[in-house]
């Protein structure tokens, strides 16, 4: 697929994050899993062993644990900019899920697509963009015909 065929975006920081204090962009994590299904074993182990640890290490992320009847265990991450990212965690081990949760916590909610330019600025020119008449005498410009 060419660059034109797939989605792309410009580089950006979310809400000028980092100008003041760093704000974690992950708002909440919801772990939905079945208490009896065999492919949710890793999820159950994660809840038993690693969830409390994760919650203590990331006090600004809310972790909702919902054991209920569901077709497959999911880890749903919601970010401050409104992006929702769902990850299927069926047949994954407890350590993998913990690593995945940590990675989701480190991300911002921006889409993972091709970035058009590796630079971006809100103020591209301070003194004014140069054009050929900058720093030339005023009479050089075209005069209306009389």
């Amino acid at each position: 697929m060419t660059g034109r065929g797939s989605a792309s975006r410009f580089l950006g920081a979310v809400l000028h994050n980092g100008v003041g204090r760093h704000v974690r962009q992950l708002q909440r994590l919801q772990l939905v899993f079945s208490p009896v299904a065999p492919d949710a074993r890793g999820a159950r182990q994660f809840v038993e062993e690693a969830a409390v640890d994760f919650a203590r290490r990331h006090p600004d992320v809310v972790l909702y644990v919902s054991p209920r009847r569901c077709p497959a265990p999911l880890l749903i991450a919601e970010y401050l900019n409104g992006a929702v990212h769902e990850e299927l965690v069926s047949s994954r081990s407890c350590e993998e899920i913990a690593g995945l949760a940590a990675r989701l916590a480190a991300r911002s909610g921006l889409d993972i697509v091709r970035i058009r330019k590796p630079f971006h600025t809100a103020s591209p020119s301070v003194q004014g963009q140069w054009h050929p008449f900058t720093n030339k005498r005023p009479g050089l410009a075209a005069r209306p015909n009389k």
């Binding site: 208490p35 809840v47 409390v52 990331h58 909702y64 209920r68």
Partner: protein
């Protein structure tokens, strides 16, 4: 004649009897009311005639003086054939093994399950078995009861 028959056929199709109409719209409601009345009446009438005792809890907490008690018991049952280190007493003889395990079970209220009987080869194994506490609660209930950090919420949908 044909016209008359046609009219009659039309009439039969369109004109539902009053009873049929009630069944379509009102009968359903009536049935619900009847059911509600029955439900309200039943719990009042039922007396707690069947008192089921609470299920036996499998909780076991090893007592503090377990080791000394076990030592005394072993020496009592095995008598002269106890080696230097009493924990190495072999439980080969089934009669003595049974006596020992039976006494422990009745004293502490916690029995060695049949599947683990073959693992009890020496007094040390018995000591290890009776030192492990057994909890009744499922891990989820335990987790809910434990002190969770404020940003961890467990949502039960039952």
């Amino acid at each position: 004649m044909a016209a008359g028959a046609a009219v009659m056929a039309v009439g039969r199709r369109v004109l539902l009897g009053a009873a049929q109409r009630r069944a379509l719209w009102g009968g359903f409601r009536k049935k619900e009311e009847e059911l509600d009345i029955e439900k309200i009446v039943e719990p009042e009438e039922k007396e707690p005639s069947l008192r089921v005792p609470p299920p036996r809890s499998r909780n076991y907490v090893p007592p503090a003086n377990l080791q000394s008690n076990l030592e005394i018991l072993v020496k009592e049952i095995f008598g002269p054939s106890v080696p230097e280190n009493w924990q190495q007493t072999s439980l080969k003889e089934n009669r003595l093994k049974f006596l020992l395990l039976d006494q422990l079970a009745s004293e502490l209220g916690h029995t060695v399950p049949n599947s683990q009987l073959h693992l009890m080869c020496s007094a040390a194994d018995v000591l290890k078995f009776y030192s492990t506490p057994v909890k009744d609660v499922s891990k989820f209930d335990e987790l809910c009861a434990a002190e969770l950090p404020p940003n961890l919420k467990i949502v039960w949908e039952q």
